[in-house]
Amino acid sequence: MSTIAPVNQPTQPHDPDNGPATTVIKSWKAPIVLGVFTVLGFLLLVVFGRSGVSTMSLSTSSDLIQLPDVLLPTRETGIVVTVLLAAITGVSVWMVQSSRKVPIWLYSVFAFLLLLGFLAWASADERIPVPGLLFGSLSLAVPLIFGALGGVISERVGVVNVAIEGQLLAGAFTSAVVASVTQQPLLGLLAAMIAGVLVSFVLAAFSIKYFVDQVIVGVVLNVLVTGLTGFLFSQLLAPNKALLNQPPKFERINIPLLSEIPIVGPVFFRQTLIVYIMYIAVAAVYFGIFHTKWGLRLRAVGEHPQAADTVGINVTGTRFWNVSLAGAVAGLGGAYFTLGSVGAFGKEMTAGAGFIALAAVIFGRWDPIRATLAALLFGFASNLQNVLSIIGSPVPSEFMLMLPYLVTIFAVAGLVGTSRGPAASGKPYIKS
């Protein structure tokens, strides 16, 4: 795709005699990308447009306040959306022409319109339950969010965490066993955190103490955890299912009042304890990283460990404990698989969620809030596929499943702009 290449053209410096000169480099990346998607939208929504009426239901039957369904004439919606997309593309051309930066909200509006058009197109003469779609998205995103938070903490302190997958899997396994044996889901949660920390210990020991390349340790750890849990599953869990692999699941807790807000309530406030913990974790990690002493030191170590060392911060210790903390957070995400959704451990049940979480970290530019949003986006894409396959969408499910990965490649290939990770991430700190 030609749009990936930066199309930068230096122009003549304006005033060679005047002050420290800067010249404006016009990047046509944004209009090109928007243009391509507008054309794609036009093709899908208008040329291959479908006729009928798309129904979006906004309330579930159990809601106190019932909102009426939204009915959209499919073809007309497609045409309106395409016109709006074209208009936004035009605006972006104008903005680049006049050397302005295309604001992020414009991209958001564009993406929302495109999504709306697609939903309408896919659900011609069908009904899409919006709260269900969003609820499922959030559910699928929960382990990704925990994993991404773990990734953010770890990378911010300077250790690349490719072992998120292993931490999730270890958390899932341990929480299942402990919760089954004790019949206490809370203990299972605690065990999941400990399991995540143990994986982190290995990552930390090998990368911080022995200077083994962090990516390699991470990859190998994933294999190790996969092998260990697989082995123990076959040897112990499968023959003793009743004792070791029937954990009690967390119950859903409806938060009074909040759970009755239309759309928002059913999606966010009729969840299990783990999800509420997730809300707190996101807020805590965000506040912690950017507004506390802990976060300042963490970021300092990840950006410039030597500078941190010279002001008396223990670089090795800071890295070690924060990588451990990252493991605990990711471990919680693992527990969600067994105690929140599935209800039992299965071999390799995390199925690559750790890698998607890693992608969310990068997509979210090492920011806990943005990484959470990226994880939600990935959860949405997966669940959209589920919903569409139920209503019989014309798009093969495999392509919907591919979407998060494609989006990530686009993201790292610079569509999001050159993002800058923690400067010392991945580099061992070697003192003489």
Partner: protein, 421 residues
């Protein structure tokens, strides 16, 4: 005017300033300067850990542990039984089966080992080549799947004369892997996208793409609802090396040739020289007129091509009856451990591939005979790599002396990417 020669900007330490090293070089040096004993010991520790796992999860052992204080020897003998049984099954399943009467039958496990080693070596060479250029190719899975798709399609859909058909399928497969790998190189060269991320993502994309093609595309077997491709045509299949009684096929010869080729490429060719220069110090390579971007693309083409050889080997060598989306069977990831164990040197990879091939072949008989799940091989393999990457740990475990003072540089940062301009 001062006539004194003032030496310009000072060095920070009195030691001769060590050259900054590339990210991978650190680990390679760590691996290569550790002597071979470390590798052997790493295998020993890993097998010992495996033994502990086998013992702990064995039912007889658990039972006898219940009355340990009344009859402690029972526990010990149960442990011995479990572990020795498992490892002798591993040996007999991978090297020589003493329970067979004839040599021809007894040696069959070894040929199985070589058969399993074939794709591991090919993919391991691909990953190792990437390492030498400073690229971490985790995309073995995707590259194998695309190789299987293109090569497999040539193998089952076309009608070509014997020999030509095989070569055509082989070329298509290698080209498929090279294509999928080259894409990664291109993305890195053009946009700076990190190959670890793009290869992981392309693995999934390939998986879903192949799943779709198997379900509803040109890989679908007509009249079947199984997501499996049609069988490869007999003309396209690798011939057996030792006759129909053995599974070992022509792929093994190809892999030997690939090893020789990779050795020549890296050590004796000008392209390999440039590869290594980029891998060790991309900045210096760039200043010396070597196009780092181009090297990334070429390296990923070669790397993907070698992994593609593993992919096509599966389809027209090992599993010729049609393939599903799991045809890579984890070889793309095993290849990383093979490359690391082989220290990214072609013949080292060859040896490591045979070792891991033996583990694989033996694990099946271990599971069949002793009920030990094959997942234990993953554990042993990953432990081997971890220990090999950290010689100080191995030395500490065996209380070996530290060979000389480690030459660590006081400057923490290591160059790893060319500064983007």
């Amino acid at each position: 005017m001062s006539a004194v020669q003032e030496p310009p900007a000072p060095g920070r330490t009195p030691t001769p300033e060590p050259v900054e090293e590339s990210r991978w070089h650190g680990i390679f040096r760590e691996i290569t300067t550790g002597n071979a004993i470390i590798s052997v010991l790493a295998v020993v520790i890993a097998l010992a850990v495996g033994a502990v796992m086998i013992a702990f999860t064995n039912e007889d052992v658990q039972e006898s542990a219940g009355y340990f204080f009344s009859r402690p020897t029972d526990l010990l003998s149960a442990v011995w039984q479990a572990v020795s049984g498992a490892y002798s099954a591993l040996f007999q399943g991978s090297i020589y089966n003493f329970r067979r009467d004839t040599f021809a039958d007894g040696i069959r496990p070894l040929t199985e080992t070589l058969t399993y080693a074939t794709p591991l070596i090919a993919a391991g060479l691909g990953v190792a080549l990437g390492f030498r250029v400073g690229l971490f190719n985790i995309g073995g899975r995707g590259q194998m799947l695309i190789a299987a798709t293109l090569g497999g399609w040539v193998a089952f859909a076309l009608e070509l004369p014997a020999g030509i058909h095989m070569v055509a399928a082989l070329v298509a497969g290698v080209a498929g892997g090279a294509l999928w790998g080259g894409l990664v190189g291109l993305l890195k060269a053009r946009t700076g996208a990190h190959e670890v991320i793009t290869t992981i993502m392309l693995n999934y994309i390939a998986f879903y793409l192949v799943s779709y093609l198997l379900r509803d595309g040109f890989l679908k077997t007509p009249g079947s609802n199984n997501p499996q491709s049609p069988a490869s045509k007999p003309n396209s299949v690798f011939f057996d090396l030792l006759g129909p009684g053995y599974n070992l096929h022509f792929g093994f010869i190809l892999v030997i040739a690939a090893t020789v080729f990779t050795w020549w490429l890296l050590g004796r060719s000008s392209l390999g020289f440039k590869f290594r220069a980029v891998g060790e110090n991309p900045n210096a390579a760039k200043v010396a007129g070597i196009s780092v971007q181009r090297m990334y693309v070429y390296a990923m083409l070669f790397s993907g091509g070698l992994v593609g050889l593993a992919g096509i080997n599966q389809v027209i060598g090992t599993t010729t009856s049609g393939f599903g989306a799991g045809i890579d069977s984890g070889i793309g990831f095993d290849a990383i451990t093979v490359a690391l164990l082989g220290r990214s040197k072609p013949w080292g990879v060859f040896a490591a591939g045979i070792l891991f091939g033996a583990f694989k072949a033996g694990s099946f008989s271990m599971q069949a005979a002793e009920g030990v799940p094959i997942d234990i091989v993953l554990v042993v393999q990953s432990l081997i790599v971890l220990f090999i990457a950290a010689p100080p740990l191995v030395r500490a475990i065996f209380r070996l002396p530290t060979p000389g003072a480690p030459r660590r540089k006081p400057v923490p940062n290591v160059t790893q990417e060319v500064v983007a301009k």
